[in-house]
């Protein structure tokens, strides 16, 4: 027994010594928290290396985590322990800003280390704004677009999508490319792969139909979520799946828009999505990748997905944190980013991205953005989002569902939830 106690004590002492190792910090350590996975880390690491070379008095510690990012962020923030630079997605901005997590960037933008916000491409600063102030700067972004596989188009002699094409053009093209090639009664080639019950992507359909999901004052869903335009948008989406059958049925309804492999396998001619899978698609031998703008419905519109960085209100080193943010979100960081994603700084984009046959299309979409629904109420995520997701699931699963009724139910549900929250 004695031997055991000795052994245990030695192990514990060793453990204490090992973990206490490390001398006093000479540099200021800035913690950067982000929810990027894998590939998304490389640009961060490059930018950090460049920044540390330029600023030897600062040590930047990247704290990336994929999956459960918000659980971690909120837990740390509840103890006042969040990183100095925090990333949040666009729809989380109102909540986090509203609860005082970020510092107003105005004094920094005009302070000792200024940044001219005019350097950005149109629409990229807006998601980082709230209540008239700038809180976050862009990290990365993507609008929606329609990928198409030139191999398939060439094989069946169908013309590529043209600039300014409409929903009717999309339907016709998709129908021309939906085929049962081996005569077994099952579709082998699909016209277009869509995003099922992905609610944020769905906002494009509503915008293009000329509708909106919520009133401008952010208090009413009834009359908007079930307006004739919105119903038309849902009907259009549902018909593509159930009536015209040009879209492969969803492989999963998690609402994260993944799961369907048809486009990747060369079994779907088009795919409506954002820029995220682009690098994989470019190296995929089944696909000769090209990109078209989203078609216009009644209206030519698109929506933006965006992530940004801000400075933690409780940071102990806000000035150093700002220096990093300025580097990252400014021209130097953008130069690195342009190899991985769309750059946010206009001059960087002009030096190559604009002329790229694919990336150039993404950039042009920035001229047609409409505000996302969450901008109108911070309670979007808790009220309308689940109701909308369920409505979309319903019309997709049940082809016989009455779309108008489904949307009215959704609007009511969202409204009840919102009224409840506004009362408190």
């Amino acid at each position: 027994m004695k031997r055991f106690t000795w052994l245990a004590s030695i192990v514990v002492i060793l453990a204490v010594l090992l973990s206490a190792c490390g001398g006093p910090a000479e540099k200021i350590v800035i913690r950067v928290g982000t929810g990027d996975a894998g590939e998304g880390l490389k640009p961060h690491e490059e930018i950090i290396a460049l920044f540390e070379a330029d600023n030897p008095d600062i040590d930047v510690q990247l704290e990336a985590v994929a999956g459960d990012y918000y659980a971690r962020l909120l837990t740390q923030a509840s103890a006042g322990d969040a990183p100095d630079i925090i990333m949040v997605g666009d729809d989380a901005v109102p909540e986090f800003v509203g609860k005082g997590v970020f510092l107003d960037l105005a004094p920094f933008l005009k302070g000792k280390y200024p940044l001219d916000t005019a350097v950005y491409l149109p629409g990229l600063l807006d998601p980082g704004q709230w209540d008239g102030k700038q809180w976050l700067l862009p990290k990365d972004y993507s609008p929606l677009g329609v990928y198409y596989n030139k191999k398939i188009f060439d094989q069946y002699g169908v013309a590529y999508p043209k600039d300014g094409w409409t929903w009717d053009d999309l339907l016709k093209t998709a129908q021309d490319l939906t085929k049962d090639t081996d005569g077994d009664g099952k579709t082998d080639l699909w016209g277009i792969q869509l995003t099922a019950n992905w609610t944020t992507g769905f906002e494009y359909y509503v915008a293009a139909a000329g509708g909106s999901l919520i009133s401008e004052d952010g208090k009413t869903f009834v009359g908007y979520m079930d307006s004739p335009e919105t119903i038309a948008a849902v009907q259009w989406l549902a018909d593509l799946y159930n009536k015209h059958k040009v879209a492969p049925p969803p492989a999963d309804l998690t609402g994260w828009a993944g799961g369907n492999p048809e486009f990747e396998n060369g079994k779907a001619a088009m795919r409506l999505f954002g820029r995220w899978p682009q690098s994989g698609l470019k190296t995929n031998p089944n696909v000769d990748l090209a990109l078209a703008a989203v078609p216009a419905g009644k209206v030519r519109a698109n929506v933006l997905f965006w992530g940004g960085f801000g400075v933690y209100a409780k940071s102990k080193n806000p000035e150093e944190a700002w220096r990093f943010l300025r580097f990252y979100a400014g021209e130097p960081g953008s130069q690195v980013w342009k190899n991985w994603a769309l750059p946010a700084v206009a001059s960087v984009a002009a030096s190559g991205t604009t002329n790229d046959p694919i990336d150039g299309v993404w950039l042009k979409e920035l001229d047609h953005l409409v505000p996302r629904a969450y901008v109108f109420t911070p309670y979007w995520g808790q009220t309308a989002n689940p109701a909308l997701a369920k409505a979309l699931e319903t019309v997709l699963i049940d082809p016989a569902a009455d779309v108008a009724v489904v949307m009215q139910t959704a609007a009511q549900e969202a409204q009840t939830a919102l009224d409840e929250l506004l009362k408190q």
């Binding site: 996975a37 998304g40 659980a71 509840s78 322990d81 492999p261 995220w276």
Partner: protein, 286 residues
């Protein structure tokens, strides 16, 4: 000629039983292995082939590079060492603390014991997401965040699962040997060390294996307590292969298979601890 013993007359029944057992074992093994087989083949495919239709059973081309690339995508070697460090200490903590506590519950009478046993069970009934935040605040106040301590120290303070497991096991041990030890003047601790532990090899092996595996795969606590990426564990490393719009299938499968090996090997070789050569009751009965 001696009459046939009861053993020989049962041999045909035994042999048929055994043959059926083998067939059943094989059938279940095949079912269990099929998804694993897909993991292996997917780990050797380029990502765009993983969800092919019709499914391709054998990868072609074989992308061996998935393995070295996956393991260096993020520093898995470092993460494995971190996880190993935590695991060894946690196993130690569990074996030490849970044995003591379980023995107390199994063998001793005291006022409040029944109630405390229910409290023990009750501590497992509140979902982690709601205790995680206050607990984090506690650790933050004592300055233990961004270190391994919150992941290690609780193991030395008992774990309800293993306490319960060991208590059940200890209750099945006939008290004869302990009584004999007490008659010989052994203290409680000595009884535990000399009598209980040797008799509990299967249970201790279970505690060790499960503890190791639990630490190896633990996700939420390392997620919130480890800020500095150099301190990350394997499960955090694996999470990098999955982002909202994209799964790096090949890398995820390759890395999962490789990082799974230590636990599998531990289990495979620790099995001999399950197989007891001697029965417990050294005393005659009846």
């Amino acid at each position: 000629m001696t009459p046939p013993s009861p053993w020989q007359s049962q041999s045909i029944r035994q042999r048929t039983g055994r043959a059926l057992g083998v067939i059943a074992a094989l059938a279940v093994a095949v079912l269990f292995l099929l998804p694993l087989f897909w993991m292996v083949t997917s780990s050797l495919k380029p990502d765009y082939q993983v969800l092919e239709s019709p499914p391709r059973w054998l990868p072609h081309p074989i992308v061996w590079s998935n393995y070295p690339e996956a393991l260096t995508y993020v520093p898995f070697g470092r993460y494995a060492l971190n996880t190993l460090f935590i695991a060894v200490l946690v196993i130690l903590g569990h074996v030490l603390s849970c044995t003591l506590v379980a023995y107390g519950f199994a063998r001793f009478r005291a006022p409040g014991k029944g109630f405390l046993f229910l409290v023990l069970l009750a501590t497992m009934m509140l979902p982690y997401p709601v205790t995680m935040v206050p607990l984090y605040i506690v650790f933050s106040r004592i300055g233990w965040v961004n270190s391994f301590w919150p992941l290690i120290v609780p193991a030395f303070l008992g774990n309800p699962f293993y306490i319960f497991l060991l208590r059940q096991f200890f209750l099945t041990l006939p008290p004869d040997l302990e009584d004999a030890a007490r008659v010989d003047g052994a203290s409680t601790l000595q009884t535990i060390w000399h009598v209980i532990l040797p008799a509990s090899r299967p249970a201790m092996a279970t505690v060790a294996i499960f503890s190791f595996q639990a630490v190896w795969n633990d996700f939420l606590p390392p997620l919130i307590y480890l800020h500095d990426q150099t301190k990350y564990t394997i499960s955090l490393g694996l999470s990098f292969f999955r982002s909202t719009y994209d799964v790096k299938w090949g890398y995820l499968m390759a890395a999962s298979l490789v990082t799974m090996l230590p636990v599998v090997l531990l289990f495979f070789f620790a099995q001999r601890l399950f197989i007891q050569g001697i029965t417990l009751t050294g005393m005659k009965e009846g």
